[in-house]
């Protein structure tokens, strides 16, 4: 799909440059003439939004790092210093903290879109797996970032999550000590989390480059899930996709700004404004909202080791999705049964998120177990079987046929 560059340098300098480093040609072929399916809907704008959010997080993060002190005695106060005395420090910090939430929100929408339209299917398996790797890196980065302000939730989240590794038989305890750099969560832990929190976003950026590279190899999927056949099925990236992505990015920023400027602490927990105190355990230790579904899965399993395995498996299973879904038809638009199971899956994920915020007792545990069973059954039973038994609707013969009004006037 990426094809050869049709870039024709005009100036003498660009001609000189193009023969040495064809970067202008690369940009031209990737972001100007790159053909995108003409039927993409607004759910396809979240890829661009995610790239933007990564940039926002890296830029605000670098400036915050100039003022932050990674030490158990000073971390909390240095964050407050940023909030009070650094010029627009409150803005930088609120953008960064809420930006994490927005980043995950966009990532989850992006993933659900991929699942609904079967974007992970042949030939886009590697593209999808790179996305799962990015999610995994995001989860690690977000977790370590949450620890940095060194409030009560920071400290206790670090304690709970690192302790999960103690479930590993034989070497678990040693691994936890190694992770902590001591015999409890302390200054060495905070320092290494800070170091890794600064490193991982650049690793994410690297994998994003691979993700985009893979995307440009195979081309974008689209709501009909059929490959473009003729030039009539595609439009040029610029101006068509650029303007559409740009418009929706700004709409997304309106939501982002609503949180940053008006309800900046809505996503946070009040306990994180209490300095970390190893002697006092908060009544409820809850992770950030974007980890709640995974947290619910962890707690749904009564055995700690198997809980941790389920937690890991709930993310790992995504990597196998391209082979677990046996259907040849990509888009849920033409898969009436799949569509229903998909929406149940969405509800189950949101339900798991809600349960993750509830204390693990009584009916909540029962519900969490039911939902966990559905979560795994969706991937391991429903998708493989559905592809074999489902009677799919006929696919349109081309993308342009599906979007253009037919001669009879009826819209497909």
């Amino acid at each position: 799909m990426s094809g050869h560059s049709t870039y024709q340098p005009q100036s003498a300098f660009m001609k000189w440059m193009e023969r040495r480093l064809p970067i202008a040609g690369l940009v031209y072929s990737s972001f100007i003439v790159y053909p995108v399916p003409r039927n993409l809907n607004y759910w396809w704008t979240f890829g661009g939004i995610l790239a933007f959010m990564l940039g926002v997080q890296i830029i605000t993060g670098i400036v915050l790092a100039m003022h932050y002190t990674p030490h158990v005695d000073f971390a909390f106060n240095s964050v407050e210093q940023i909030m009070r005395d650094v010029n627009y420090g409150w803005l930088l910090r609120y953008i960064h903290a809420n930006g994490a939430s927005m980043f995950f929100l966009a990532a989850y929408i992006h993933m659900f879109r991929g699942m609904y339209y079967g974007s992970y299917k042949e030939p886009r398996e590697v593209l999808w797996i790179l996305g799962v790797i990015i999610l995994l890196l995001m989860i690690m980065t977000g977790f370590m970032g949450y620890v940095l302000p060194w409030g009560q939730m920071s400290f206790w989240a670090a304690t709970v999550i690192t302790n999960l590794f103690s479930a590993i038989p034989l070497v678990g305890e040693s691994i936890v000590t190694w992770l902590w750099g001591g015999f409890a969560v302390g200054n060495p832990t905070l320092n290494r989390f800070y170091s890794l929190h600064y490193l991982l976003p650049f690793v994410i950026a690297g994998v994003v480059v691979l993700h985009i590279w893979a995307l440009h190899m195979v081309g974008q999927n689209n709501p009909d899930g059929i490959e473009p056949k003729t030039e009539k099925d595609t439009v040029a990236f610029t101006p068509y996709a650029t303007i559409k992505d740009g418009f929706f990015m700004v709409v997304f920023c309106v939501l982002f700004a609503w949180f940053v400027f008006y309800i900046p602490n809505f996503m946070g927990h009040p306990d994180n404004y209490i300095p970390a105190n190893p002697a006092v355990t908060p009544t409820h230790i809850v992770p950030e909202w974007y980890y709640l579904p995974f947290y619910a899965i962890l707690r749904a399993i009564p055995n700690k080791l198997f809980g941790v395995i389920a937690l890991g498996a709930s993310i790992l299973v995504l990597a196998f999705l391209p082979w677990l879904d046996t259907s040849k038809v990509r888009s849920a638009k033409y898969r009436p049964l799949y569509r229903q199971f998909f929406w149940i899956f969405v509800v189950v994920c949101i339900g798991l998120g809600w349960l993750g915020s509830k204390p693990p007792e009584g009916a909540y545990v029962l519900l969490a177990r039911l939902f966990t069973v559905y979560y795994f059954a969706y991937f391991l039973i429903i998708l493989p079987v559905l592809g074999l038994v489902e009677k799919t609707k006929p696919l349109p013969s081309s993308i342009s046929e599906s979007v253009l009004p037919s001669k009879s006037g009826a819209k497909a």
Binding site: W90, A257, Y262, V347
Partner: protein
């Protein structure tokens, strides 16, 4: 959609039943009543008089036990704060003693605080506080953001829309007024604790701090526990979020910009795509 509908109805009914089944574990702590704060909402601003009264309550009541170690005296004169002049802020600072720099003999003697200093903490360390009060009175600098209460579904969703961010001050206001001389029948408190209906667990080590007429107001505001409670809560919201006014003001400007830009981009997008969508 038959399967989906059945499963969704089933899930929804389970979800609604779950809290009822888990009810026995919920606290019997009532939700604090919500107040009308001048600083709430998209155009919220602090009431200067209220912040000045709140500071007075802090200085005459709270500061005996509670510090404000993150709040520098100079910020009392910052825009969006209590509205003191630089000279007034310096004069308030000068009423406090802080440890000075080591002199030629290496002795550290107290000196009057300056605008760059923060409100001193009343105790040299936690153990000193514990020895005296059997508890450590928390620093109040960010207390208005460090306290809150569960709003529960569906209120919390609505809170996103109405921008309800005042759980902290609402809780503090309620806490100041939530003391009861005699605990309800069947409730036993740890020795030295007081019954407060809004405090989680109800046994609070802090004695009722406010009584009517305890702090003299000169601006005609009522000298009642209720008014004191509101004023101190508003003041503590300012200490926790000193740039709240700038945040909301800039936020509105950002919104105007984003919405205009989104509009322009939308119509540009429509124009660009028109020719493609036709054929």
């Amino acid at each position: 959609m038959a399967i989906a509908r059945t499963v969704l109805v089933l899930a929804a009914s389970l979800a609604l039943a779950a809290p009822a089944l888990a009810q026995e574990h919920e606290h019997d702590t009532p939700s604090p009543p919500t107040n009308r704060w001048s600083f709430a909402g998209p155009f919220g601003k602090f009431d200067r008089g209220q912040l000045q009264r709140g500071l007075k309550v802090y200085r005459e009541v709270c500061q005996v036990c509670h510090g404000l170690k993150l709040v520098a005296f100079r910020t009392l004169a910052d825009p969006g704060g209590p509205g003191f002049s630089t000279a007034q802020a310096a004069a308030i600072a000068a009423e406090y003693q802080v440890p000075g720099e080591p002199d030629d003999q290496g002795e550290i003697k107290p000196r009057p605080a300056g605008p760059a200093d923060s409100f001193p903490t009343p105790f040299p360390n936690d153990n000193a506080a514990r020895a005296r009060y059997n508890a450590v009175p928390p620093d109040l600098s960010v207390i208005a953001k460090a306290r809150g209460f569960e709003r529960g579904f569906p209120l919390w969703v609505w809170d996103m829309v109405i921008q309800y961010q005042e759980q902290g001050p609402d809780y503090l206001t309620a806490l100041m007024q939530g003391y009861q001389d005699t605990p309800p029948a069947g409730v036993t408190l740890p020795p030295g604790n007081f019954y407060n209906k809004y405090y989680p667990g109800h046994g609070i080590a802090m004695p009722p701090p406010l009584t009517d007429k305890r702090v003299d107001y000169t601006d005609g505001a009522p000298m009642t526990v209720e008014q004191y409670a509101k004023d101190i809560s508003a003041f503590l919201m300012w200490t926790a979020e000193p740039h709240l006014e700038a945040r909301k003001r800039i936020g509105f400007q950002v919104f105007i910009f984003l919405i205009v830009l989104a509009g322009l981009l939308y119509f540009t997008k429509k124009k660009v795509w028109r020719e493609v969508e036709a054929h």
